[in-house]
């Protein structure tokens, strides 16, 4: 079963987190923008999707018009932000093959039942040379280790399974993505941010890692 119960129960609290942690949220959006193509507007038009769109907190600022989300309460919030939403799961994407130029997935993989299957599904729905940008909490980063240790304090993270960047890259390679084209950025080096931080290339220091891979 998809792990949606806490998201149903605490959708408002989930959405509120982004306001309370504005600097962290903005740092994350900045890091994702760094991986997007310069002619993003033309690509991120009709042919892009966020898988696990949640309440639309990333699709909305990045201009992604379409999302997949299992939780009805979260889906309704995304729709209110102007995103077309389809209820569905990453492991069984309801799309024909090779229909997207760009797929985004942000801090969703830690809630998936079958990450390997989900990545293979993303590979299937991408057009040849299409981009997949995946962002996640890096379990092996200094802050990631704290998240892992304290995860039972959060109604969301208590059901999460965090991954290291090495585990994630192995799963991406297994799904068919070419490791020679992986690009990494990282951010969120500290929890008590007063203002948004700049991202750095690579991984290992930041809790929030984003990888861009190409089909």
């Amino acid at each position: 079963m998809p792990r949606i119960l806490p998201f149903e129960r605490y959708a408002a609290e989930y959405d509120e987190w982004f306001e309370e942690h504005r600097a962290v949220y903005e740092s994350e959006v900045r890091a994702l923008r760094a991986l997007l193509p310069s002619d993003m507007a033309s690509i991120v038009s009709e042919e892009s999707i966020e898988v696990g769109v949640g309440t639309g907190r990333f699709a909305s600022p990045l201009g992604i018009p379409l999302g997949i989300e299992p939780s009805p309460t979260m889906a309704a919030r995304s729709k209110a932000r102007g995103i077309a939403v389809i209820r569905g799961i990453a492991e069984a994407l309801p799309f024909t093959k090779s229909c997207f130029k760009f797929v985004l997935m942000v801090t969703t993989m830690c809630f998936l039942d079958d990450v390997s299957l989900a990545f293979r599904e993303v590979f299937r729905v991408l057009k040849p040379r299409g981009w997949f940008i995946l962002a996640f909490i890096d379990r092996d980063s200094p802050l990631g280790r704290i998240y892992e240790r304290k995860k039972y304090d959060s109604p969301f993270y208590r059901i999460a399974r965090f991954y290291s960047t090495d585990e994630v890259t192995d799963l991406l390679k297994f799904a068919g993505f070419n490791e020679h084209e992986f690009e990494f950025v990282q951010t969120v080096f500290d929890t008590d941010l007063a203002e948004a931080e700049d991202w750095k290339p690579g991984y290992g220091e930041g809790a929030f890692v984003a990888i861009r891979v190409v089909k």
Partner: protein, 67 residues
Amino acid sequence: MRMRKELMEILACPLCKGDLELSIVEEDANGEVITGTLYCPRCDERYPIEDGIPNLLPPDLRDDSPG
């Protein structure tokens, strides 16, 4: 992009990935489908569209599933 008819070109059955047939019960002035169904003839499965949101969860994960 709302749940308009053009989305039909890329939507597929989550199980067999086959084409779906759209039945519209209600649509708004902008051509957005508000209520209707998406039918997969191969799986003989009906996926509902409610409040403009198609529910393409695998049927065993739907809210109304007996399990």
